[in-house]
Symmetry: D2
C-alpha cells in the first residue's frame, strides 16, 4: 500500500530528550496510542528551541505554525517505559523548517517510530510568514543533519 | 518546501461525526494544537467501525494497528467551536486500509485540515496481519470513495 | 473510607453542553479514564463563560485560576457514547467562584460523575486576586443554584 | 471559601517518579493545565504498582477503579520544566486504598500541588469489590505513611 519507511538509527539524530510515558498514553489495546507520538514531537522540538534561547513562548514575536506532520510506526511502546525523543533539522527555508523526530525505547538503537514536522514561522499577531530570527537560525544549524 | 495539499470539499467525504472542541484542545497560541487533529482521526474512524458493527473493542479478534498517519493544516480551529470530522476509505488491501479524514468548521465547505491514517489489521494476540472480516469489508465499502 | 457522595439529578444543573467522547478518552480498562472527566469540567465552565460574553481568552484582563477540583465517580462511561455536561454555580465570593459539574449519559437522569471546581479570579499579568467583573457576575448569577 | 490545604514537604512522600512536562501540558494561560496534574496522579500510582509487581495491566484479575479524586493547587508549573511526583498510601481498607500524591518542581521542598486518589479494587470482569491481593498489600505497606 505504501513504500514503508525504514527505522533510523539513534546516531542520525542530534538532540535527545528523555520522556517518561504516562498512564493515559496507553490506549485500550495496551500500547501507546498513535496520537501520543505527535505530542512527543511537539515536546522535543519546543524544548530544544526554548532551552536554546530561540523561542520564548510568552514573548517571541515570531512563532511556529505547524503545516504538515507525518509519522511511521514500527514497534509498540507502552507505559510505564521511558523513551528518548531524538531531533534533527532536515531543511531550513526562508520562513520554514523541516524537523525530523525519532522515538526510541531506552537503550534501543533503532527507532520505534519516526516522522517529520514542518513549521512555518509567522508573526504572532498577523499570522503572516516571517523570516527566521538569527538566534533561531543558529539553534537550527546546530542540529542540522545533511542527508 | 513541499507540494502543499489543497483543502478538500465536504462533499468528497462519506461519513460525518460532529465533535465538540474542549478547553485543553487549545494550546498556548490560542488555537487547536496540531496533535489534537489526530485524536479526531482516531475518533471518527473507530466511531464509524463500532457503530457499523465492524469493531467490538472488547471482543474483536482482529484489531487495527496504525502504521502511518499524516495531516496537512490549512486554517486554525479554536475552542469553543464545534467541528465535523469527515471520513472516507481511499483503498482497501488484503489486510490494510487507507482512511482519509477531513476536519471542517461547522458550516464550512472546505477542510481546515485533512490527512490519512493507514490501518494494518492484525490478530489481537499475535499481532500478525489478518484478513479483513466480511463485516469490516462491508463497512469499508459503504464509505469507499474512488479517486 | 469516605462518606460517598450521591449522584445528582439532571434537574439540579442550569446549563448543559453535549460532548462527544473520543477514542483516547478510554483507557486500557475500556472506559473513560478518571482524568478525562476534569477536561469536561474545564470545557463546560469555559464554554459557558465565553458564550455568555464573560470571558475572552485572548483579551480578558482577569482570568480564572483553578485552586481546587474534586470528582466522585458513580458509573462508567465509554467511547463512542456522547455525554451531557451540566453546570451550576454553588457560591460566588468577592474574587472566587465554586462551580459544580455533573456528567450524564445521554438520556440519563442521574449523574455518572460529579464534582466541583474552584476558580480564583486574578489579574492576568500579576496573578493577584481581582474582583469579578460585572459581566462575569451576571453570567454567574444566571446559573446560580441555591442549595 | 474553603479551608485551604497547606503544601506538604517532599519528605512526607515515600516514592518518587520524575516526569518530563510536555508542550500540550501548558494551556492557553502558559502554565500546566489543572487536568494534567491528575494524569500525573494516575501515572505515579500505576508506575509504582507495576514496578512493584502488584499490578499487571493485561493479566491482573483485580483492577483499581477510581471512585474519588481531589487536588489543591499552590504554585504554577510550566513546560519545559521537569517535575517529581511523590506518592504515599494514607489508608488501606479491605478493598480500597487512599493514595496521596504531591507534585514538586525539581529541587523544591514544598509541593506545587497535592491531592488524593481513592481506588476501589474490583474483579476485572464483574466489577464487584475484591480483596486486595497479598502482593498488592505488601506494595502498599512499603509506602504507607501514618499521619
Amino acid at each position: 500500500m505504501t513504500g514503508r519507511a525504514q527505522p533510523d538509527a539513534r546516531s542520525s539524530y542530534r538532540h535527545f530528550l528523555p520522556i517518561q510515558t504516562r498512564w493515559a498514553d496507553n490506549d485500550v489495546y495496551g500500547h501507546v496510542n498513535n496520537v501520543v507520538y505527535y505530542s512527543w514531537f511537539d515536546t522535543v522540538v519546543n524544548e530544544y528551541l526554548i532551552r536554546s534561547g530561540a523561542l520564548d513562548i510568552e514573548r517571541s514575536e515570531v512563532v511556529g505554525l505547524v503545516v504538515e506532520t507525518r509519522c511511521s510506526y514500527f514497534n509498540e511502546l507502552a507505559f510505564p517505559q521511558a523513551i528518548d525523543a531524538g531531533l534533527r533539522v532536515a531543511s531550513i527555508g526562508s520562513s520554514s523548517v523541516r524537523y525530523e523526530i525519532g522515538l526510541f525505547a531506552t537503550g534501543a538503537d533503532l527507532a520505534s517510530a519516526q516522522g517529520h514536522f514542518i513549521h512555518v514561522y509567522v508573526d504572532r499577531r498577523s499570522r503572516k510568514p516571517a523570516a527566521l530570527s538569527a538566534p533561531l537560525r543558529d539553534a537550527l544549524q546546530r542540529i542540522h543533519a545533511c542527508p
